[in-house]
C-alpha cells in the first residue's frame, strides 16, 4: 500500500509539474526566509542565558522621580557598588564595569584594543570559561580573550607574558594571568581584555564621587533574596548619599513612588538586559525582533495558503481517483493519510530546498541585517523541535484540509467529478484575499517608512552637515594637544575653512558611539535642566550655527572659559529678562565661590540630537585644559569635498601617526542615527517583496488551474464569438476583485499601525492618501500582470482543440 501511495504521489507531482514547481519554490523561499529570521529571533532571545547564576544576577540602574515622570539613569557612579554590597542585605557580590578603547604595546608593536575595567568579582558573577591560567586580577594583571591573545601574541598560550597599556599618556606594564574563551555572540557583556577598575583613567577622582555616572553595575544576590527587597532597601541608601538631590526633587513637587521614594534602584534580570531600555548594554528593540518573527510566520502562512489553494484546485482532477478508491473500499482515514502524505512529501522537499537556500543566503543575510547568526543554531534541539512542529502543523493545515474535504464528500459526487470545494469557493477566495492584505500592508508600510526616512534625511538640521568632517580622536591621543597640532598643520591649506573640537559627536560616528550629558540646577527657585556640551573655540562658526545674538567662543579671549553659548530653548527656559546675551548666573546658589557663567551667544535651535527627539535646552561651554575633545570637526569648502577629505587625512597622518584616520562627513553620521529605521525599512522591503512574489506565484498557479477547468467554457465562448480580450478580461476580473477587497482591508489597518510607528519621531511626515492609491495600484498591477500571463494564453487557445479535450 505504501509503495502504491508513494508511487502515485511522485507521479502526481510529475503530472502537475508546473503547479508543483510553483508550490515548492514558493514554499522553499518562505521556509528559507523563515529559517533565517527565526535564527535571528532565537539568537536575540537567547541572550545572556548561559550564566550559571543568571537568575540571581541583575543589572542596576536608578529611577529619579519628578512631578511628571520617572527618569531612568542607566549609568551608575563608582561608589554605588561597594555601598550596595556593604549596606543592602542579601547581596552576595557586586561588579562594576566600563569598556573603552586603549592602546597596547607588545615588544614594541602598537595596536588598539578594547579594555574592560572591572572588579575581580567579574569572574565569579559571570560565566565565561577559562582556557588558560587563572582568573586572578591584581592591579597589574590582565586577562585576555582567546582572540585578543592570538591577535597580540599569535598564540593563546600567553600566561605570564608581558604587555603595556597606554593609560593617561603613560605606558604601564601588565602581566597576562589568564585567557578566557571569547564571549559568545549572545552575550551582552563583551570583552577582549580585562583589567582592574583602578586602572581606569580618572579613577582616583571618581572613586568616591557619587555624581559622576559612567559605569555599568551588576549585583549577584544570595539565593532566596528577591530583587524587590533589594530595590526597597535601596531607598534608604540613596537617601543617605543623595539627600540634597532628593530634597530638591521634593521641593520641585516630585511625586513619590510606591515606597514613598524619590529615587530608587531598579534591578534588571540578567536575561532581560538585552532588551532593557535601562541598560546601556541592552536597548535592543524587542518590537523589531518580534516583527521578524511575525514576518517569518506570515511568509510561511501565505506560502501555505498557496499550498492549500493549489491542492484544493487540483482536487478536481484528483476527484475521480478518490471516488474510485472509495468504490473499491478505501476508508476515509486511508484517503486522508494518502493525500496528507503527498502534502508532507512536498513539504519535506521544500524544507530541504529551503534549508539549502538559507544556507547559501546566510552570509548575505548577515551582512544585510547585521545579525551574526550561524547555522549551528539549527542543531539546537529546541530549534529542531520547532521545525518539526511547524512541519506537522503546516502539512496538517495545507494537506489535511483538502484531504478531509475529499474523503468526506459523497462517493457518487466525487466520481461524477462534481466535487465542489465549498460554497462558491469562499474559502479559497478568502485565503487569496488574506495573502493580498499582507502584501498591501507591507507595500503601504514600506512607502510610509520610506517617506519618513526621506523626510528625516532632507530636513534641514540647522547646522552644516555636508561640509563638515568629524574625526574621533581615539584612545591614544590627547585631544586638546592633537587639536592644536592639527590646527597649525591645516592652517592656510586650501579648502580648509575652520577647525574645532567637542566632547560629543553629531549623530553616530564611525566609532559607533553616541552620548549625551545632562545637567540640572536651580535658578531663582526654578528647576533648570539642559544638555551640557563641551566644545572648542570656533565651534559656532565651524558648524555654521546661526547666532541670533552675541558671538562664538574665541581663542583670543581668555575670559571665555566661563562663557556659555545657549540655544533658543535654553533662553526660553531662563525666562524673560534672563536668557539674554550678557546674562550672568551660578549653577549653585548656596556656594558663594561657585563659578559664575556669562552667556555670550544665543544660537537658533538646531537638531543636535536625532529627529526622534524634540529640541531641548542646550548649553555649550568651552572645554577646559584638562577636558579633552573626543571629536574634531573640520569645515571644508563646498567645492572639492573629497580632495579636502584627503588633505585632512594626510594632515592627520602627520600629527597623529599612531591613530588611524576615521573621519566622516557629519551627514553620514546623522544618517547613521536612523540605523534601526533603516534596518526596519530593509525588513519591510524584503518582507514585502517576498510576500508579493509568493502571493503572485499562488495566483499564477491558481489562474492556470482555473483556466484548465474552464477550458471547455472558454472554447464554447470563443466558438460563439467571444474576443480574445473579452475572454482574458473574464478570467482576470475575478482575481482583481479579490485584490481590490484586500486593498480595502489593508489600508485602514496600515494607517493605524504606521501612525503608531510615526509617533516615535518628534518630527514626522503625515500619511498622505496618495500612498494608499499608489500601494493599491501597485498590488493591482502586479496581480493583473501575473494573471494575464495565463488568461491571455487561454484566450488565444484554439477553441476546437480545447473542446476536443473533454
Amino acid at each position: 500500500m505504501w509503495r502504491n501511495y508513494i508511487k502515485i504521489a511522485f507521479r502526481n507531482i510529475w503530472k502537475a509539474k508546473q503547479v508543483t514547481f510553483v508550490n515548492i519554490v514558493g514554499l522553499s523561499v518562505a521556509i528559507a526566509t523563515a529559517l533565517l529570521l527565526c535564527m535571528t529571533v532565537y539568537k536575540e532571545f537567547s541572550f545572556d542565558k548561559f550564566h550559571e547564576n543568571g537568575d540571581r544576577i541583575f543589572g542596576i540602574y536608578k529611577d529619579v522621580r519628578t512631578a511628571e515622570k520617572v527618569t531612568p539613569m542607566n549609568n551608575t557612579p563608582h561608589p554605588l557598588a561597594p555601598a550596595i554590597r556593604a549596606e543592602i542585605p542579601g547581596v552576595k557580590e557586586v561588579v562594576r564595569l566600563v569598556r573603552n578603547g586603549v592602546a597596547v604595546r607588545t615588544k614594541g608593536e602598537q595596536q588598539a584594543i578594547n579594555a574592560t575595567y572591572t572588579d575581580p568579582s567579574f569572574f565569579s558573577i559571570f560565566t565565561f570559561p577559562l582556557l588558560k591560567g587563572e582568573t586572578r586580577l591584581g592591579l597589574t594583571d590582565i586577562v585576555l580573550s582567546e582572540t585578543t591573545a592570538k591577535n597580540l601574541f599569535g598564540t593563546a598560550d600567553v600566561v605570564g607574558k608581558q604587555l603595556e597599556l597606554k593609560l593617561e599618556d603613560t605606558w604601564r606594564p601588565f602581566t597576562v594571568t589568564g585567557v578566557l574563551a571569547d564571549p559568545p555572540e549572545n552575550s551582552s557583556v563583551m570583552f577582549s581584555s580585562i583589567v582592574r577598575l583602578e586602572n581606569q583613567p580618572g579613577y582616583p577622582g571618581n572613586k568616591d564621587n557619587w555624581f559622576s555616572f559612567s559605569l555599568e553595575t551588576f549585583v549577584e544576590l544570595q539565593p532566596g533574596t528577591s530583587p524587590e527587597s533589594v530595590a526597597r532597601a535601596s531607598k534608604a541608601l540613596l537617601e543617605k548619599y543623595y539627600g540634597e538631590d532628593i530634597a530638591r526633587q521634593k521641593n520641585a513637587g516630585a511625586a513619590p513612588g510606591p515606597y514613598g521614594e524619590y529615587q530608587l534602584l531598579g534591578l534588571i534580570p540578567m536575561q532581560e538586559v538585552h532588551f532593557s531600555p535601562n541598560s546601556n548594554l541592552g536597548g535592543e528593540k524587542k518590537g523589531l525582533v518580534l516583527m521578524l518573527l511575525f514576518i517569518a510566520g506570515f511568509l510561511l502562512f501565505i506560502a501555505s495558503i498557496n499550498f492549500v489553494n493549489l491542492t484544493l484546485a487540483r482536487s478536481f482532477t484528483r476527484a475521480r481517483e478518490v471516488g474510485m478508491r472509495k468504490v473499491m473500499g478505501a476508508e476515509k482515514w486511508q484517503l486522508s493519510l494518502q493525500l496528507w502524505g503527498e502534502a508532507f512529501l512536498l513539504f519535506v522537499i521544500a524544507l530541504l530546498t529551503g534549508g539549502l537556500i538559507a544556507f547559501l543566503m546566510l552570509p548575505a543575510y548577515n551582512s544585510l541585517f547585521r545579525s551574526g547568526v550561524s547555522f549551528s543554531l539549527l542543531l539546537e534541539p529546541k530549534f529542531i523541535g520547532g521545525i518539526i512542529l511547524t512541519l506537522l502543523v503546516v502539512t496538517a493545515f495545507a494537506g489535511g484540509y483538502p484531504a478531509a474535504l475529499m474523503a468526506r464528500a459523497s462517493t457518487l459526487l466525487v466520481l461524477k467529478g462534481k466535487m465542489s470545494t465549498g460554497r462558491k469557493n469562499y474559502f479559497r477566495n478568502s485565503l487569496i484575499v488574506t495573502q493580498f492584505v499582507f502584501s498591501c500592508l507591507l507595500i503601504i508600510a514600506t512607502l510610509i517608512a520610506w517617506r519618513q526616512m526621506n523626510y528625516l534625511r532632507n530636513k534641514p538640521l540647522g547646522y552644516n552637515t555636508s561640509e563638515v568632517i568629524s574625526v574621533p580622536v581615539g584612545a591614544r591621543e590627547n585631544g586638546s594637544a592633537l587639536l592644536e597640532r592639527l590646527r597649525s598643520d591645516l592652517k592656510g591649506q586650501p579648502g580648509i575653512l575652520s577647525v574645532t573640537g567637542a566632547n560629543t559627536n553629531f549623530g553616530r560616528g564611525l566609532d559607533g558611539s553616541m552620548s549625551t550629558s545632562i545637567i540640572s540646577w536651580e535658578n531663582g527657585g526654578k528647576d533648570m535642566q539642559a544638555h551640557w556640551q563641551g566644545v572648542s573655540t570656533d565651534y559656532v562658526q565651524t558648524m555654521s550655527l546661526q547666532l541670533t545674538g552675541g558671538r562664538d567662543f574665541s581663542a583670543a579671549l581668555a575670559s571665555d572659559s566661563n562663557s556659555l553659548v545657549i540655544n533658543e530653548q535654553m533662553a526660553r527656559q531662563f525666562g524673560p529678562g534672563k536668557g539674554h546675551v550678557g546674562f550672568r548666573f551660578r549653577m549653585d546658589d548656596q556656594v558663594a565661590d561657585a563659578t559664575e557663567y556669562t552667556i555670550i551667544g544665543i544660537v537658533k535651535d538646531y537638531h543636535y540630537k536625532s529627529l526622534h527627539n524634540p529640541i531641548e535646552p542646550l548649553i555649550l561651554h568651552l572645554l577646559g585644559p584638562d577636558q579633552r575633545p573626543a571629536y574634531i570637526f573640520v569645515r571644508v569648502a563646498p567645492e572639492a569635498l573629497s580632495t579636502s577629505m584627503d588633505r585632512l587625512a594626510a594632515s592627520w597622518k602627520r600629527v597623529a601617526p599612531e591613530t588611524p584616520f576615521i573621519g566622516s562627513f557629519v551627514s553620514e553620521n546623522t544618517e547613521r542615527q536612523y540605523r534601526a529605521e533603516a534596518t526596519l525599512m530593509r525588513v519591510f522591503i524584503s518582507g514585502g517583496v517576498l510576500t508579493i512574489i509568493i502571493s503572485c506565484m499562488g495566483l499564477f498557479a491558481m489562474a492556470m488551474l482555473i483556466i484548465g477547468q474552464r477550458t471547455r467554457e472558454i472554447g464554447i465562448r470563443k466558438v460563439l464569438g467571444a474576443s480574445a480580450a473579452g475572454v482574458a478580461t473574464l478570467i482576470s476580473r475575478d482575481f482583481l476583485v479579490l485584490v481590490g477587497i484586500a486593498i480595502l482591508i489593508a489600508s485602514p489597518l496600515a494607517w493605524v499601525l504606521m501612525r503608531q510607528w510615526l509617533k516615535e519621531f518628534a518630527y514626522r511626515t503625515d500619511i498622505h492618501w496618495s500612498i494608499f492609491v499608489l500601494a493599491g495600484g501597485m498590488a493591482m498591477l502586479v496581480a493583473a500582470l501575473t494573471v494575464s500571463f495565463q488568461s491571455v494564453r487561454a484566450a488565444l487557445m484554439n477553441p476546437v482543440k480545447s473542446l476536443r479535450t473533454e
Binding site: N4, K7, V327, Q334
Partner: protein, 220 residues
C-alpha cells in the same frame, strides 16, 4: 441474494420532491445475469447505485445476502465494497497515475491480501485477459476497449460475489462490446459471479438470462 422491497428514491426539488424510483420490488438470485433496460433518465443508474450501496434509498427495504443494507454502518459497507461487490463504469474510471498492473492490484491492497498472493492473482487475471504485454502501460496509452477490460479485471480481481456494470460498453464500438459481453457471460457461467448490468442494447441484453425493463422509475 438481492431483495428490494418497496424501494423509493426521490431528490428534493424546490419545495417539493422529484421521484426517480417508485415502489421498486426486485429479487435477484445468486448466479443470475440481469440486464436493466429503459429510456434515458428512467432511473437505471440510480437503481444500480442503490444496489451497489453508493447511494441510499429514500424509503423501502434492501437486503443484500440476507442482511438489511439500511442498517449497515460505513465500516460494513466498506468491507462489502472490498470483498463482495465489483463495479464497472461506462467511463472506466481507471486511476491515470497507475499502470495497468497497479490499477488491477489496488483492490487487493485495500483488502490486505499478502504480497505473494497478490502477485499471482494479478498475473492470473492479466493472463486470462491477454494483457500481460500491456501491464506496464498507463490507462491513457490503451484503447477504450482495453481500458474497459482493465476496469473489469479490476472489478473481479478481489473475487466479488456480484458485479454492477453501468453501461459498460456505452463508449465502445460493437466488436469491443461483444468481447466484453462474452467475458461477462464467461465470468457468470464459469466463476458463478452474479452480474447486473445496465444497457441500451438488445444484443447485449441477450447475453444475460433476464431483462428488467424500467420506465419512469417503475419496473414494468
Amino acid at each position: 441474494m438481492i431483495q428490494l422491497r418497496n424501494i423509493t428514491k426521490h431528490y428534493p426539488v424546490g419545495f417539493g420532491k422529484h421521484e426517480i424510483l417508485k415502489d421498486v420490488n426486485l429479487d435477484i438470485q445468486q448466479g443470475e445475469f440481469v440486464s436493466i433496460m429503459g429510456p434515458s433518465g428512467s432511473g437505471k443508474s440510480t437503481l444500480l447505485h442503490i444496489l451497489g450501496m453508493l447511494e441510499d434509498a429514500s424509503e423501502g427495504e434492501y437486503l443484500f445476502q440476507d442482511e438489511p443494507v439500511h442498517k449497515m454502518n460505513d465500516k460494513k459497507r466498506t468491507q462489502l465494497h472490498r470483498g463482495s461487490i465489483g463495479f464497472v463504469f461506462q467511463a472506466y474510471h481507471l486511476i491515470d497515475e497507475l499502470t495497468v498492473y497497479e490499477n488491477i492490484e489496488t483492490p487487493l491492497l485495500y483488502k490486505n491480501v499478502p504480497s505473494g498472493e497478490r502477485k499471482s492473482r494479478v498475473a492470473d487475471i492479466l493472463d486470462r485477459f491477454n494483457m500481460v504485454a500491456k501491464k506496464d502501460l498507463f490507462p491513457t496509452q490503451l484503447s477504450g476497449g482495453q481500458q474497459q477490460l482493465v476496469g473489469i479485471a479490476r472489478a473481479i480481481v478481489a473475487e466479488p460475489a456480484v458485479i454492477f456494470a453501468d453501461e459498460p460498453t456505452g463508449n465502445l464500438h460493437s466488436d469491443q462490446a461483444r468481447q466484453i459481453m462474452e467475458l461477462f457471460a464467461e465470468l457468470n457461467k464459469k466463476d458463478g459471479i452474479t452480474i447486473v448490468q445496465v444497457t441500451h442494447s438488445d444484443v447485449n441484453a441477450g447475453y444475460g438470462n433476464r431483462v428488467i425493463q424500467i420506465m419512469d422509475g417503475r419496473i414494468q
